[in-house]
């Protein structure tokens, strides 16, 4: 039986300051996060006890100075009342959504993250010289070969052998770019020329099939093994090959289709052999660099297929699986699988017949349409800096300047969540995961909390003893399970006692 899914995203934002004052990106990132948090949230530290980014899913541990990494990461860190983590990762502000149980909720809190970054800009400007401007981009590269990540996280059954998981996912990740790509002008691969526009931001940076690295020799399937949950039962699949996406439909499809494919893998309902690619890394780039969608990639069994061909086969397998009813218990009556399949089918149909009909749904199509129209009107070559700027500014999180947000304002983009929901999501957590308990404790008892993390809260109840409340099951700590308890105790000591009783 497949496992009920948990979805989450982590986004590293690109930042820069223009105007007076010489401010390094590291300082801007710290100012953004630091200024956003109220004082009582700022003093709650991140609990690193269960963190180990160097543990490999294949069963070994890489060597690196873990303490140094912890120290770096601990500098500016916030756990928010919506259950999210907002912190500085090297030179980037990073927002990790709270745990959600379906792709639409994940889109909602992913968008709340953008809104939080935008709110942070306004607060950080108060401490910069007048005239300074902060720019924050939700994209994945600076156009000069430096990439920063947008990672997806999915809860997966630990019983699935990792090798099978990786082998099944690679062809899916290679081909999902046809709808999940954010679009990019040019290429950043050294020595390569003649690429005007490609589907994805990250394809240029994929160098291996499977690996632990996230900053060098980036792999299509990342092996970081930090479940942030009971390690006997769960694995957290950490996906690093995807793009930061602005369109709600694009993000919804990226998350939803991947979640469904994972459930088929868990239930052994996917015939791996019929999808295995001959040269996955090469194919990843071939697919990205062919906006006509006509290029074929070679399969291990000798067939050649387009990325869309393969996606139709994945869709067929998922539809057959949904009909079988085998996943019903794990879906728990939720309609998200059907919603994803309907959108997936509609989008693949559009890609087959006329991709331009998808400009309100897919980022790469929306961006391409803007670039083409702008290029034509001004008679520009593809290497013109203005087109690179349009590519970058499409991802600006400030609705006054961001080109994606101009499309939203012009009602050119399909929405899945409302602005009111996004605003609420900045403050309140999802109600059906442990994020509810985490966020609620931050809202109620921040002054008694010493540290928090994905799977624990540490309370200081009397100034002498620390009490650690573990939350190893991401499905426990929901509103249904803990609201009454939280409302009973105005003081955290009573709550902790009740939990331990």
């Amino acid at each position: 039986m497949p496992l009920r899914k948990i979805f989450g995203t982590e986004t590293e934002y690109g930042v820069t300051v223009s105007g007076p004052g010489d401010v390094s990106p590291v300082l801007v990132a710290s100012m953004l996060v630091g200024q956003y948090g109220q004082a009582e949230l700022r003093r709650v530290k991140w609990d690193f006890q269960e963190e180990n980014p160097l543990r490999d899913a294949r069963g070994f541990e890489a060597a690196r100075n873990k303490e140094a990494a912890e120290e770096e990461g601990a500098l500016v860190n916030l756990v928010l009342t919506n259950g999210a983590r907002y912190y500085v990762d090297h030179a980037h502000p990073e927002f990790s959504t709270p745990e959600t149980t379906n792709p639409r909720d994940c889109v909602l809190w992913d968008k709340s993250g953008e809104a939080i970054l935008n709110a942070s800009i306004k607060r950080a400007l108060e401490i910069l010289p007048p005239g300074a401007r902060i720019h924050v981009y939700k994209n994945n590269s600076d156009g000069k070969g430096n990439s920063y990540g947008t990672h997806e996280n999915y809860l997966v059954d630990r019983a699935v052998p990792f090798a099978r998981l990786a082998a099944s996912l690679i062809p899916f990740f290679v081909t999902r770019q046809v709808f999940a790509g954010a679009g990019k002008v040019g290429t950043e691969e050294a020595g390569l020329t003649g690429i005007d526009f490609q589907l994805s931001q990250r394809a240029d940076f994929m160098e291996a099939e499977v690996g632990l690295e996230t900053t060098l020799k980036r792999p299509i399937v990342n092996t970081r093994d930090e479940p942030h949950a009971d390690p006997e039962r769960y694995r957290r699949l950490h996906v690093i090959c995807g793009d930061a996406t602005m369109c709600e439909v694009t993000t919804f499809l990226k998350l939803g289709t991947t979640g469904l494919i994972l459930m088929l893998i868990e239930d052994e309902a996917l015939d791996i052999d019929s999808f295995t690619l001959a040269k996955p890394v090469e194919a990843f780039k071939t697919v990205s660099r062919d906006p006509s969608l006509e290029a074929t990639i070679e399969l291990a069994d000798g067939r050649s297929m387009t990325a869309c061909d393969l996606q139709w086969e994945y869709l067929d397998a998922v539809k057959t699986y949904l009909k079988s009813g085998r996943g019903d218990e794990a879906f728990g009556g939720s309609s998200w699988p059907e919603d994803v399949v309907a959108k997936w089918e509609q989008v693949l149909g559009g890609l087959d017949t006329d991709p331009s009909t998808l400009a309100g749904q897919l980022d790469w199509v929306a961006k391409r349409e803007l670039l083409d129209a702008y290029r034509e009107r001004n008679g520009l070559e593809w290497n013109d800096a203005k087109l690179k700027l349009i590519d970058l500014q499409y991802h600006d999180v400030d609705p006054e300047r961001g080109l994606y947000y101009k499309l939203v304002a012009g009602e050119r983009v399909e929405r899945l969540v409302t602005d009111a929901e996004i605003a609420r999501g900045m403050i309140t957590p999802p109600n059906d995961t442990r994020a509810y308990f985490r966020g609620s404790c931050l809202a109620r008892y921040a002054t008694s909390l010493v540290a928090a993390s994905w799977d624990a809260l540490i309370f200081d109840l009397d100034g002498q003893t620390l009490k650690r409340v573990p939350m190893l099951d991401p499905f426990k700590g929901t509103e249904a399970g803990t609201r009454q308890l939280l409302e009973t105790y105005a003081e955290p000591s009573g709550l902790v006692q009740a939990l331990q009783g």
Binding site: G14, H90, H92, Y148, W312, L370, L389, K406
Partner: protein
């Protein structure tokens, strides 16, 4: 759907349906004009918000570290 069936469907659907007479149809022409006007307005707006001096701005946008 099976690949063969899909290929047929693809052929059938592209080019887009032209039952209304395609480009010669006055209604379609009007719609095309409206779309172009909308896009022109959008491009004007983009011009008004694009960072000044694209070359310089792009050159100065450098991001290091992360993940």
């Amino acid at each position: 759907m099976p690949q063969s069936e899909r290929q047929q469907k693809k052929k059938k659907e592209a080019p887009p349906p032209s039952e209304e007479g395609g480009a010669a149809n006055p209604e379609a022409q009007q719609k095309g004009r409206r779309l172009k006007e909308d896009m022109d307005r959008l491009l004007d707006e983009i011009d008004s918000v694009l960072e000044e001096n694209a070359e310089e701005f792009i050159k100065n946008y450098v991001q290091k570290g992360g993940e």
